[in-house]
Amino acid sequence: MTKSPVLILGARSDIGKATAHAFAALGHPVQLAARNADTLKADQSDMVLRHNVAVSLHEFDVLDLATHAAFVDGLPEMPDVAICVVGLMGEQSQNEQDLDAAVRVMRSNYEGPAHILAEFANRFEVRGSGTLVGVSSVAGERGRATNYVYGSAKAGFSAFLSGLRNRLAGKGVHVVTVLPGFVETKMTEGMDLPAPLTTTPDHVAQALVDAVERKVNIIYIKRTWRYIMMIIRAIPESIFKTRKI
């Protein structure tokens, strides 16, 4: 039996690649979407050779909203699972002073991802099946001085996913929210991350595959994060605002 295709939006990212490999290893054909998609040719051949599945490349720019509908309609086959891994952290200090940079972070983490998943949501709803996955962040659970621009955009994205899940629950379409904590990726390279709270793109990918297969709603990659964020959310604002967290 041939398995259904899986689309990865933001396929150049470390988590995107790991996720594509994880689905391909299970025999799913994968569609890799990114800017300058032809630079993913080596990854395409790698996935074909390792997993013996069909892999296609698709030009996609999450910020170019006007192209999204055409992008979706241009796919050779409507995917069963659409996964948005797109994200941009930026530098908080820069985001505070350079508001254009801040807007870019907001658009890359919220507006763009929400817009493209909305395109798929409408088509999946009509079809009556499919899974949408958004990779958001624990940073969206509460705004902190150190990364609230990124965090606020992720908060918006998380709320969007939650609403989408609510809307589509009876329509045969499932929505997964992925909340990774620290992950060893290009985004976090050079940061001094605490080892017990840090995971790898491969672990994120495995958890994501598992969540899609078992129709889980929200996943944290390391369970500790669930409790850490529970505590962080519970701290009263009057105390929270004076602390460095």
């Binding site: 630079t39 051949s45 790698d46 390792r50 290009k186």
Partner: protein, 441 residues
């Protein structure tokens, strides 16, 4: 970033780059004063550490093309040999040369010109390499093979990354009928009997011996000699032959923490070795085993380097020319058993002829063993160096962490020519490791 090799000794703080594309790799190489490439960090010592700039190839790990007519795979250097097996064994292809662990990167296998249990018959990894792309300090890539740019090829195979950064390679895989091995284990009461078994079986595809380095007297050098062949369909029971590439995944165990320093000493090592020999002797004879257990028994114990405790361990691996092998091995074994250190894993293997500019193997016998790092074993290692030199032997750089430049220079006449090539081609200033500096390469 704190780096060490698989032996976890020495430990150095190095600037690390992990490029995700060819363009990023080129930038990293061009920007640094000197660099060394690092694959999966399985060299035991400091071969793949340059404190100024260590370039990890972990993200450059794509398989690019496969030609099933000739079994040729083109891949990037960060691909692990285990990934190649995972992708191709079920399609009837296996590595032509498999070292003792599948967690080695392709680039590392080429740079160390690794050998396997078939060296006596098929030679080192070099024999399956069609060509290699090597990046120089300016970021330009040169393709080399036995025919095209042969000087670069000769020095890159076994050159420990000191000729440039490997960016791609084409290797040949070997066709196999199944994922199973036919393995025959024979006990040998002493060193002489073990060597006789190797000499009597030159046609075995694979041969290797586990050797008890702590036995003395008439049992000195007692061994379990294992011979192996890829199982053909006719070797397998019918139900297995029907799905010849379906083997159960080997169960893996992880060593969860560093063993305390006293866990490994002469008493536990002696007991382990005696038990292992008795058990092996009882179970001798022919059996069918899966590829993973046959080629990579230690890979089943993840992080096995932790059993040596926090201070790490040192590997010793030398090769002795055939004529001097018996005398040399005998002297090495005497020194090891007399020193009463905990040596757990020792391996003896017959090498066949070898052509290359700087690769480790030569026709003769190779002995490999590891020790926990402490003052006593470091003294013993110096003594083993001397015995090896006295018998015309040389040392495996992928295993070395502590040899002196003088010892290395005395062991290998090829070092002058290698150094001259490094100077002449501008590699010396641009490609260096902590090891190459220590050994003055």
């Amino acid at each position: 970033m704190i780096l060490s090799g698989w032996g976890r000794y020495p430990v150095l703080d190095a600037a690390v780059h992990a490029p995700r594309s060819f363009a990023e790799l080129r930038e990293d190489v061009r920007a640094a004063q000197s660099v060394i490439a690092r694959g999966n960090g399985r060299a035991y010592g400091d071969s793949a550490i340059n404190t100024a700039a260590t370039i990890k190839t972990q993200h450059l790990n794509r398989m690019l093309a496969f030609d099933p007519d000739i079994g040729q795979l083109i891949a990037e250097p960060g691909v692990l040999l285990g990934d190649i097996i995972a992708a191709f064994l079920s399609r009837g292809w296996f590595l032509a040369v498999a070292p003792g662990t599948k967690f080695v990167s392709l680039g590392g296998a080429i740079a160390a010109d690794v050998h396997g249990k078939n060296h006596h018959k098929d030679g080192s990894f070099r024999t399956c390499v069609d060509w290699v792309d090597v990046m120089d300090a300016q970021g330009a890539v040169t393709r080399c093979s036995a025919l095209e740019n042969p000087v670069l090829f000769d020095h890159t195979l076994g050159g420990m990354g000191l000729t440039g950064v490997i960016t791609r390679a084409a290797i040949r895989l070997r066709p196999v009928e199944s994922a199973w091995m036919v393995q025959t284990t024979q006990p040998a009461a002493n060193l002489e009997a073990a060597m006789d078994l190797f000499e009597a079986n030159p046609d075995a595809s694979y041969s290797v011996a586990w050797i008890d380095c702590l036995a003395t007297g008439s049992t000195k050098g007692r061994s379990l000699v294992t011979l192996g062949e890829h199982a053909r369909l006719t070797d397998l029971p019918e139900d297995r032959a029907r799905a010849a590439f379906d083997v159960p995944d080997n169960r893996t165990w992880a060593v969860p923490f560093d063993a305390p320093g006293f866990a490994l000493n002469k008493v536990t090592a002696r007991a382990f070795n005696a038990l292992y020999y008795r058990r092996g002797s009882r179970k001798s004879g022919q059996q069918i085993t899966n590829w993973d257990s046959f080629f990579f028994p230690l890979d089943a114990i993840l992080h096995w380097n932790r059993i040596y405790g926090r201070k790490g361990f040192a590997q010793f691996q030398c090769v002795l020319p055939l004529a001097a092998s018996y005398a040399g091995l005998s002297a090495l074994l005497s020194a090891i058993s007399k020193a009463e250190v905990g040596a757990f894993l020792a391996v003896l293997k017959r090498f066949g002829p070898q052509t290359s500019a700087f690769s480790f193997p030569m026709e003769g016998y190779t002995l490999a063993l590891d020790f926990p790092v402490n003052a006593r074993t470091l003294r013993l290692l110096s003594e083993l160096d001397r015995i090896t030199l006295d018998h015309g032997g040389r040392f495996y750089l992928a295993k070395d962490a502590r040899m002196s430049a003088d010892v290395f220079a005395a062991s290998d006449k090829r070092i002058e020519a290698f150094r001259a090539e490094r100077q002449g081609n501008g590699w010396q200033n641009s490609f260096a490791s902590a090891q190459s500096r220590r050994l003055n390469l």
